[in-house]
Symmetry: C2
Subunit: 327 residues, 2 copies
């Protein structure tokens, strides 16, 4: 299996991406194809010793930045690492694609280069959502800001498949993010989506209120991309704000070094539970080949873990399973 | 000034509501009219000594529960404390109305009994949002699940007025809850609302991402009622979940009683910052007279503080100011 990695994407640049690739071939049974500026990627690779047949480079001398209008960038920057990598995927030169670069460009490339599975209305960015029990899956995480009920219906199907086949959850509990638990609650989209999803052959547990999301009551959270983005970013913002408040509070009275040290350990242990680096990439579900987004701040560990997920996705034959489950 | 209070609303029943009313007349220069079952309210009042001319009762022998369909309940239960109280308000027997009962029934009563200010498209439930800096205001908190851009435009105007006149914020910073900070981000509703709000004579600071909401970067958060409810409940759920996780973590190693005690104090100090009881009620902005919702779990302190807010709302002449600012 060969996984194509965008060598130029991400805030931390090629250094961390390449190190993540090196770590991946050591730990996982995969080959890696890095798309990016050849001299830069080669420079990074020189730092390591590794089996030469497991990593190759496809030259791509442009980079798409986060500031660029995604669709325009994908259309114009034909030699960007993102476009070159995705085109290689579409041409069958690799089995999956991973980038820590512009989310918008990844989505645009997914639609225009890799393209949707026949019958899929919209592809959904699918991410893990940290809970006190572990993780849930959330889709759509922001690819589709305006949705129709049929999109959410398909998100439910795709999310359930991914949860079961890649994350190993048995009969994943699927919930619709809503403002009340009873059937009939919500806005027009939520109400109609509920009616469609409940007819599916899924373990649909109904509506889930935002209050209960952090408790991990469901395995798959279904929502439109606007609400999904609000949920993800508010969860992140609340965690950061509470920690910063607690730090202030504790520093007021915990004078002893021992007390402070103890606290630091506990905070660290807590933070690791919500560490995106452990969970790696977010798949774009509904396209014809495996396309994954890694977090923009990914370090080598995050890249390696994302590659692990791409591999599980390929091994699980998820694209075909989704294809078979969509009318 | 006389404030009408729903004596039967809220999870804690008449006992806490009546105590809150007693505390309010002691602290604030107001008269209170309690709508509810006369024998029950009188029984509670007997526990206290107070100037008899400051509290009176309007008999209402029915109660609307949280399980009832709100509009039907308002139409059918003519003798419920909610309907009797609101009708008294509409007939000019009091200057404002407060209930800790069914939110849906309060909204329905606001629309059908008190009615909207002329020109107001939708009334908005407006609540305080706890931040690390203090509080923001959020509207709509759940009254309108499907909104048009014109509704959000009016929410921005009404929220700004309330923030300035009742909460005392000078030139309140108004932000639109969105999935990116740049103009042009978001779903169709957010994009069109942005264009309308930016033309208003307000201190509009543009889009605010959910990640930044807990930081208190804006004084007024504008959003539709679906998103508003998600934001409020997720904020509450995250705070609860993080505290419960921390409790687990700390109990693992903080064996000394001193350490645990220290922690308890700090947690308490933190929790008080997000205590809805301190902030009291949520106004229904856009109706012809002051209508306030108190939290369902309100105790006497929360009721008293909510009455304080109703008073400030009446003193500030908010209804007329909103009326003057809507075309």
């Amino acid at each position: 299996m060969n996984i194509i990695v965008d060598g130029m994407g991400g805030d931390k640049g090629p250094k961390e991406v390449v190190k993540g690739c090196i770590d991946a071939i050591e730990e996982l049974d995969v080959g890696i194809i890095i798309a990016g500026k050849r001299d830069i990627i080669e420079g990074e690779l020189l730092k390591y010793s590794f089996p030469k047949d497991q990593i190759s480079i496809i030259d791509a001398d442009e980079v798409i930045s986060n500031d660029e209008e995604p669709t325009l960038a994908i259309r114009r920057k034909k030699n960007s690492s993102m476009v070159v990598g995705m085109r290689a995927l579409a041409e069958g030169k690799g089995d999956g694609f991973l980038s820590a670069g512009s989310t918008g460009a990844l989505l645009a490339g997914g639609l225009f280069i890799v393209r949707r599975i026949k019958g899929i209305e919209r592809a959904a960015l699918t991410t893990v959502y940290p809970t006190t029990k572990g993780i849930s899956l959330l889709l759509d995480a922001g690819a589709n800001t305006d949705c129709k009920p049929q999109y959410l219906e398909q998100f439910a199907v795709m999310g359930s498949i991914y949860s079961e086949k890649v994350l190993g959850v048995k009969e994943p509990k699927v919930g619709l993010a809503n403002i009340g638990t009873e059937e009939g609650k919500g806005n027009a989209l939520a109400k109609e989506s509920y009616n469609l999803i409940k007819e599916l052959d899924l373990n649909f547990v109904g509506n889930i209120e935002a209050r209960d999301l952090p408790k991990g009551l469901v395995d798959v959270i279904v929502c439109d991309g606007f609400v999904g983005n609000i949920i993800l970013k508010l969860t992140e913002g609340m965690a950061m704000s509470i920690f910063s408040l607690l730090k202030d509070e504790f520093s007021k009275s915990l004078k002893s070094k021992i007390g402070a040290l103890m606290l630091k350990q506990q905070l660290k242990s807590f933070k690791s539970r919500t560490d995106y680096r452990e969970y790696g990439g977010a798949p774009l579900l509904g396209v014809r080949q495996p396309v994954f987004k890694a977090h923009g701040s990914s370090d080598a560990l995050a890249i390696k873990n994302a590659i692990r997920q791409v591999k599980a996705f390929v091994d699980g034959d998820i694209v075909n399973i989704i294809d078979e489950n969509i009318d």
